[in-house]
């Protein structure tokens, strides 16, 4: 079997950043992704990103992806696309399919940067054609340039729901309304303000009751919720829509970490079950690292920093960096991660992340 030094699985911002750091340290990296284009979430994101100037804030997501890609090319990272990895084994053998062939390769170190996957909601009519994940709608409009529908109801007011609503408007669809079951908007106010300015109503404390239609969506019924999240009789509203998009959260994509026998912690604020890991992003399985949304759903900026961190720690473990150099580099990254995790939104994530590190430490001591 072919042997390689380092395998990075997932070519989103976390995986790309990890590969770049490792290549800079003269490591021999191979990057795998199931898609035909690298970039992960970034390639659907046509809005300008938040974050600090160091994190390329103000640059549109897909352009950040292009920049990272150019760097991996310049550094000579081996990128294998169209290569879903479906299993990894404790001896670090990686099974993937590529060009319709099953293949296997063995790596000394593995970094998992597989990102997250969209959650779904079930309600009467939720399987009708026209009901879809917000990510599906986003892929259709921004990558393939087709509208999945003309009149859309968006469920969920996190950043994904807000941003995809805005992008649907930009693509020429009408977003009839956005509903949110919680008594407040989940995502950034500035994203909400964009769609409000375009005349899209946001109904907080509202949920979907059913979607009507025989062969496809023709309408949706929403209802207001009281303080105990119970439907208020008489507050039902029927919206004429042909598409219902769900943006009800993401869950880390952790199958490969389960297969490797990693220990997990359950942290709801980060999206559910997360592989335990230490300050080096190393899991409870030696030589297996994690970075990005798989360690808790956050942002591209934090995903890139975590990718760098995992890359440097991995380089250190391989002896490519000495203790001192690695320590300095890692400290800089932790400082940046900590400033990114401030403010009312970041604070919650920092708390959850610290909790995760604590659980991991106690669990593995």
């Amino acid at each position: 079997m072919k042997e390689i030094q380092i395998a990075v699985i997932g070519a989103g911002p976390a995986g790309l950043a990890a590969a770049i750091e490792l290549a800079k340290a003269q490591g021999n990296v191979t990057l795998f992704d199931e898609n035909t284009k690298p970039g992960g979430q970034l390639f659907k994101q046509i809005h300008k990103f938040f974050g600090s100037s160091e994190h390329l804030a103000g640059t549109r997501g897909y352009n950040i992806g292009k920049q990272l890609l150019r760097e991996t090319e310049k550094l000579g990272v081996n990128v294998i696309l169209d290569a879903p990895v479906y299993a990894i084994y404790p001896d670090k053998t990686i099974s993937y399919s590529h060009q319709n062939r099953e293949q296997a390769i063995k790596a000394e170190k593995i970094i998992l940067a597989t990102g997250a996957t969209e959650n779904a909601l079930a309600f009467p009519g939720s399987t009708l054609p026209g009901v879809m994940g917000a990510g599906a709608a986003q892929t259709m409009i921004n990558v393939h340039r087709v509208l999945p529908g003309k009149k859309v109801l968006m469920i969920g007011s996190g950043n994904v729901g807000l941003i995809v609503s805005y992008q649907l408007l930009q693509a020429g669809a009408d977003v009839v309304a956005l509903i949110e079951a919680a008594p407040q908007i989940g995502g950034y106010g500035v994203h909400a303000a964009k769609i409000r300015r375009a005349g899209v109503p946001i109904y907080i404390s509202h949920t979907i009751q059913k979607v009507m239609g025989k062969n496809e969506v023709v309408a949706a019924q929403i209802v207001q919720l009281d303080d105990n999240r119970q439907p208020i009789p008489g507050s039902e509203k029927i919206l004429e829509v042909d598409t219902v998009c769900m943006a009800v959260g993401l869950s880390p994509l952790t199958e490969l970490a389960w297969l490797m026998g990693c220990e997990f912690a359950y942290i709801p604020q980060l999206g559910g079950h997360i592989p335990k890991h230490n300050h080096n992003m190393e899991t409870t399985v030696s030589g297996l690292y994690v970075a990005g949304d798989i360690t808790g759903v956050e942002e591209a900026s934090t995903a890139m920093e975590e990718g760098r961190l995992a890359g440097i720690a991995c380089a250190q473990a391989l002896g490519l960096y000495d203790q001192e150099k690695a320590h300095t580099l890692k400290k800089e990254i932790w400082n940046r991660l900590n400033t990114l995790r401030t403010g009312p939104f970041g604070k919650i994530r920092k708390f959850a992340k610290d909790e995760l590190l604590k659980i991991s430490r106690e669990g593995t001591a």
Binding site: A136, M140, R145
Partner: protein, 105 residues
């Protein structure tokens, strides 16, 4: 519906087209796009009928994870149309239930 003009992505200049056949009807598709995108562009949203409850289904995840969008393509059932690129002359059929292999061996 296609998005030909876009404030950020600009004009769509990929114009190489192929013809595919959907339940016998010829449809123009953009070379290399997934089957699902071509169908949505043509206003087709119902891709199949589920085996047990006979319910219609269309795309859900758009990235190859959920298998809601499966159809019979060139005689092969259960093809995920959201990640399978169109090819000239492709024959696509709405899948009823579990689908049937058209070329019985």
């Amino acid at each position: 519906m296609r998005i030909t003009k876009h404030p950020i992505l600009g004009e769509d200049c990929e114009i190489e087209l192929v013809t595919i056949f959907v339940d016998g009807k010829p449809i123009q598709a953009k070379k290399g796009e997934p089957i699902a995108a071509a169908l949505l562009a043509a206003g087709i949203r119902k891709f199949r009928i589920t085996p047990k409850d006979k319910n219609p289904r269309g795309i859900f995840c758009g990235i190859g994870r959920c298998t809601d969008c499966i159809m019979t393509v060139n005689g092969q059932p259960n093809v995920r149309t959201c990640i399978t690129p169109v090819e000239e002359g492709m024959i696509i059929e709405s899948q009823i239930g579990l689908g049937k292999w058209s070329d019985k061996e």
